[in-house]
């Protein structure tokens, strides 16, 4: 990092934080603080929804995912537009008519207070942990590649977000997210342009795509019904719709974004905007990763992109063994360069494709052997290096100033997601728990003050989770598991509320408690891969609630 990178990075972040805090200071009432005064226009809502979902990991991991596995990950987002339409059609009109501040408030009007409080508490547990991981995940990667202090980085990201989120609430989150998305888009477009310009002179963009295709990176769609493949057209359409519906429809960190809209129409257009742009945006980020892949067909790359993994193995007794693999890797890179250059100039030659694929197989085998050695040298180190590919490219190839801009992209993404999470956690705590259950006859100013305190407290909790996250193996996976354990149940409660009028409050509350117990047992005894717990929990709570309601109704009739 040069001085100019530091100036760009610090300047960008400080400008966004101070502008956000200054522009939105002094909220007078709860509506201002939690719903941003209900003034947001559709483009603000759309950008805010996109910025909330796109965390730093989106920009670090997704290009790495494309580098290793190609463009197929885009299929994961195919269900999102369907969910957007369902939310516009069903969820938004009801939330707006009831003038709710949080999604869980609706559950009280449809069922009762205990169901509302249960859903709110499940959200707080899951999102409270996730907020810590949103800070920790990019911090661990940046600290590894840049040598920055991990704890200090966690604290800096957390404190910057706390400053403007506490000060301006929802409006500050929206205002800063517009600027963060501008920085993110600008950074990614510049990175894409530079990667393509770094390719050898006689390799055009079209030829680069052909080269990527020869290595199987352009297999975008998979119409098979193979459950072993995580990303297929069908899992994207069906599973993706289901996941997006629960995330955008019932998770307060997203619901709060569109509840800040000026009217139902603005809220709906905001989600339509997201439904139109999300798939192309993810496609573009994956395409950046594919271009990084093509770049490394003509330029040397490390055997493993995680610098800590390389360092660990080189200090161990396996250093010599690893050196042999590195030499082999260098030989493979020479073969790769010649084969791809030849293919770029002589497209459609099937023999050349076969040759490239053989070299790729050799490379994958060699990288896998390297990972095995790294694991032997240090079993606790992360050998899956997909999160490190793009940042390695940025730090080693981009010109001065742009490294600072791309780091600002990554930190802006981390901050925009964290801000929405803290804002939603504070709103849910203030409205669903504090105001409704503990203190419901105070002035508006009192609740604004309470919401600010809750934002600060959740911010400190998120920083604490981020700081201890490194002590646990696979904490990110643990948070995903916790999400899967609770998400399905909460979505099931909402679907019952919206669509099954027949089911009443006691049936749904008992069903939710039983379901939560069964899902936890199912996870404990490993009944299914944890991602399927979402669907399992949702179906189970709906079936049990309908069953209990039927029994109760029959009993009443007798």
């Amino acid at each position: 990092m040069q001085q100019v990178d530091w100036i760009v990075l610090i300047g960008t972040l400080l400008f966004i934080v101070s502008y956000g805090a200054y522009k939105t200071r002094g909220s007078k009432n709860v509506s201002d603080y939690i719903k941003g005064g209900s003034e947001a226009r559709w483009w603000t809502i759309g950008l805010s929804v996109m910025a909330t979902q796109a965390s730093a990991i989106t920009f670090l991991s997704t290009p790495g995912q494309a580098f290793h596995s190609g463009m197929g990950f885009v299929q994961f987002y195919f269900g999102l537009p369907i969910a957007m339409v369902v939310i516009c059609l069903v969820f938004i009109p009801i939330y707006h008519r009831l003038k709710v501040y949080t999604a869980y408030e609706y559950l009280e009007s449809r069922f009762d207070l205990k169901t509302r409080s249960l859903a709110a508490i499940l959200f707080l547990i899951q999102r409270g942990l996730a907020a810590g991981i949103t800070i920790f995940a990019p911090a661990i990667i940046l600290s590894a590649v840049l040598g920055w202090n991990l704890t200090l980085l966690n604290i800096i990201i957390g404190v910057l977000v706390i400053i403007y989120t506490v000060s301006g609430g929802t409006k500050a989150v929206s205002v800063t997210q517009k600027q963060q998305m501008t920085v993110i888009f600008a950074g990614m477009f510049v990175a894409f342009y530079l990667i393509v310009s770094y390719l050898p002179e006689d390799i055009s963009f079209t030829e680069a795509l052909k080269i990527a295709g020869a290595s199987g990176k352009m297999e975008i769609l998979d119409f098979s019904f193979n459950f072993e493949n995580r990303y297929t057209f069908w899992s994207g359409i069906i599973g993706g719709s289901f996941l997006a519906l629960s995330y955008f429809g019932t998770d307060q960190s997203q619901v709060q974004r569109y509840l800040s809209g000026k009217s139902v129409k603005e809220m709906q257009l905001g989600l339509v905007f997201n439904g139109l742009l999300k798939v192309p945006m993810q496609f573009f980020i994956l395409l950046v990763g594919v271009m990084v892949f093509v770049f490394y067909q003509f330029n040397s790359s490390p055997l493993n992109f995680n610098p800590l993994a390389n360092e660990a193995v080189k200090k161990s007794v396996y250093a010599e063994e690893y050196k042999t693999l590195e030499n082999k890797h260098a030989e493979i890179e020479k073969l790769k360069y010649v084969a791809n250059l030849k293919y770029g100039n002589e497209l459609m030659n099937p023999r050349l494709i076969e040759n490239i694929q053989q070299i790729n197989d050799l490379e994958i085998e060699n990288r896998d052997e390297a990972k095995a050695i790294i694991k032997k040298a240090n079993p606790s180190i992360e050998t899956n290096d997909k999160d490190y590919v793009f940042i390695h490219f940025i730090l080693n190839n981009l010109p001065r100033g742009l490294i600072g801009l791309l780091l600002a992209v990554i930190l802006s993404a981390a901050m925009s997601s964290t801000a929405s999470e803290l804002n939603a956690l504070a709103s849910t705590t203030a409205i669903d728990l504090y105001k409704r259950n503990i203190s419901d006859e105070k002035t508006d100013a009192h609740y604004v003050k309470a919401s600010k305190w809750f934002t600060l407290i959740w911010g400190l909790i998120a920083i604490s989770v981020a700081c201890v996250a490194n002590l646990f193996d696979n904490l990110i996976q643990l948070v995903n598991i916790i999400g899967s354990i609770f998400y399905g149940n909460v979505l099931g409660i909402f679907l019952l509320a919206f669509f099954i009028k027949y089911v009443k409050s006691n049936a749904v509350f008992v069903a939710a408690i039983i379901t939560q117990g069964i899902v936890i047992i199912g996870w404990w005894f490993d009944w299914m891969p944890y991602l399927w717990l979402n669907l399992f929990g949702c179906s189970l709570v709906m079936l049990i609630a309908i069953f209990i309601q039927t029994l109760t109704t029959k009993k009443d009739l007798l």
């Binding site: 339409v85 516009c88 059609l89 009109p93 297999e219 139109l276 192309p280 669509f499």
Partner: protein, 34 residues
């Protein structure tokens, strides 16, 4: 469900058609470059 009718808007059709179009473009790209 709260005795209200769903009101379909042309924007929803646009979202669904646009995404079907994206998928068609992805299919064509895959056919050309794979």
């Amino acid at each position: 469900m709260d005795n209200q009718k769903y009101s379909w808007k042309s924007e929803y059709t646009t979202v669904l058609i646009a995404n079907a179009f994206y998928i068609l473009v992805f299919y064509i790209l895959m056919e050309i470059f794979s």
